[in-house]
Symmetry: C2
Subunit: 357 residues, 2 copies
């Protein structure tokens, strides 16, 4: 296949500034390797709500379903925080997008970049060499369970969420994590709360069964509270971490702090026919429109797209090396600026990476 259709969803806030820089990198790749990438832009999030009254318009969902991959910027902002829940950008667009596209696995690599070790609040010796891949289940659990609200006899209310997992849902994401571990350092840490939750007990049983198929991978089970501790105490012990949706939400954000540069961290959501790629950070309304945003997380998300959706490993590495090279040469957006480095804006950073490619 030489032609790939990419749905481009800039979204809100800095999304509209960083996504074009990732498109720029992809165009440089297309030129260098002789691929054809066809980009089609669509509205999502607050921008879509403002334009057509819903954060995930039907045309946008259809475009995504008919593409080979989706590149997303960021979604949400204070402007839309008071809308009814189902119309709020994050929940009204992100959750249905994940569900409709069948994106059951969210991948968040967490690694250090050259020259950025000082950015972390953790000590250098603790994080030097950290390289963790968190695989988060993304279409099950509390996020998608039934929700109810009722009145209580004392005049108050009672609100309920349901946390369910099936063997099937657990197996497919854990299998994915095992395959990823096989290509890395062959260690899998499965995180649950099996001492308290029934869903976690099924999770642990299922992992224990699957472990037999992957005797070459070392399997460790860890309680989620302990994992939240160990990520700070000794993050180098981890290679691949796999966990359910809500635990993954918390642990990926915690893990992103190890590197101190959330502006650098990409993510991939995969599982169905169309993968979705977006930076780990949010829409940063406070710096939107000022060309201050760091586009590297989005550019690295585009690299993940090449790897996971298009199986273009060399092309993916070319982007990643270009980013590394630009950092080594000292270019920094304001979020990572230090004395002795060269300050660039969003567009300049994108240009530098495209040049290197």
């Amino acid at each position: 296949q030489e032609m790939y259709r990419i749905a481009v969803l800039p979204g809100d806030g800095i999304g509209v500034e960083i996504v074009p820089e990732a498109v720029k990198a992809l165009k440089a790749i297309a030129e260098k390797f002789g691929h054809e990438f066809v980009f089609t832009e669509a509205l999502v999030g607050g921008a879509a709500y403002d334009a057509v009254g819903h954060p995930l318009p039907d045309e946008t969902l259809e475009l995504c379903q008919n593409s080979d991959a989706v590149l997303l910027g960021a979604i949400g902002g204070p402007k839309w925080d008071d809308l009814p829940v189902h119309l709020r950008p994050e929940v009204g667009a992100l959750l249905p997008l994940r569900k409709e596209l069948g994106l059951f696995a969210n991948l968040r690599p967490c690694m250090l970049f050259p020259g950025l070790i000082h950015a972390s609040t953790l000590k250098e010796e603790v994080i030097e060499g950290v390289d963790i891949l968190v695989v988060r289940e993304l279409t099950g659990g509390l996020y998608f369970g039934e929700k109810t609200r009722e009145k209580t006899a004392d005049g108050g209310q009672k609100a309920t969420d349901v946390l369910s997992y099936s063997t099937y849902e657990i197996e497919r994401v854990v299998r994915f994590a095992y395959e990823a571990a096989r290509k890395r350092r062959k260690k899998l840490c499965s995180v649950d709360k099996a001492n308290v939750l029934e869903s976690s007990r099924l999770w642990r049983e299922t992992v224990t069964e699957l472990a037999k198929e992957y005797p070459d991978v070392e399997t460790v089970h860890m309680y989620v509270d302990n994992c939240a501790m160990q990520l700070i105490r000794n993050p180098k012990q981890f290679d691949v971490i796999v966990t359910e949706n809500m635990f993954g939400d918390i642990l990926t954000d915690e893990a992103s702090m190890l590197t101190g540069s959330i502006g650098m961290l990409p993510s991939a959501s995969i599982g169905g026919e169309v993968g979705l790629y977006e930076p780990a950070h949010g829409s940063a309304p406070d710096i939107a429109g000022q060309k201050k945003a760091n586009p590297l997380a989005t550019i690295l998300s585009a690299a993940m797209m090449l790897r996971y959706s298009f199986h273009l490993e060399e092309e993916a590495r070319t982007i990643e090396n270009a980013v590394r090279q630009v950092l080594i040469e000292g270019y920094r957006t304001p979020d990572l600026m230090e004395p002795g480095k060269i300050l660039v804006n969003t567009v300049e950073m994108g240009d530098k990476v495209a040049e290197k490619i």
Copy 2:
């Protein structure tokens, strides 16, 4: 009241070594201030299972109910990990103890101790002056919701846990947190996942209502994923954090790593007539029986007992100052030993604190 009945539950592992040192400190307080503390010991956890076949024997529960406070060591160990869930020490004893005693609020202070700033994996400038109190709801949510397991059509299984909160349950723990914040730096951070969970939306609405009664306290709402990040990025922004059971489980363990010395951190579980006090760390089977355990977290838990159950503030401070003094003089158990300090064992450390009192 001059006579206080204290149920003493050493439990498993290092529990039997550290609890006597806390009792020693309490006896020194009794002598100095002219109180009468009556200590009654009972079995709990694996030790109770081995002796009578259940981790929480009726006599133990009754003793707790008829005491003024409970001092607990630690519970559990690999020896009992393969028992059926309801007989496992942690779950078979801890959860019913919390429920039966009505301990709806778990308090975990997280602060730095003199001379221990190096113990953290975080940089000094990030944690210097950190002083956080996490208030965790302890008798609701996923821990106590209905649990089910069923077969699915594809030959697999489906497991379900239910997460419910009522206005009443939220109000009482949040009110407690507000009162605590009033006595501290007057900042409350309420943590939820209101963008996704119905129970979190009720949580946030309830906090928003209560906030009106505490105009002197600054109220902030934070999503749990963001909080897991902010605890590492900038922990000094927090004064009191209040959150539901499962989020609290994860965040308290994460926060305990800020100080790098989990062997120092006490906890109090309160709400009913009888409070329960225990160190934040576990039973550490690997070092049990070797006099290596650090008794200071348990001793500081005894100080919390004096403060929260007996309202003996001066006595509580006397213990806390004694601990600080012993650290300043350079005494260290093996977990915190550094060159230039004086190594002591569990009993010697307990003696030093009692002397200072």
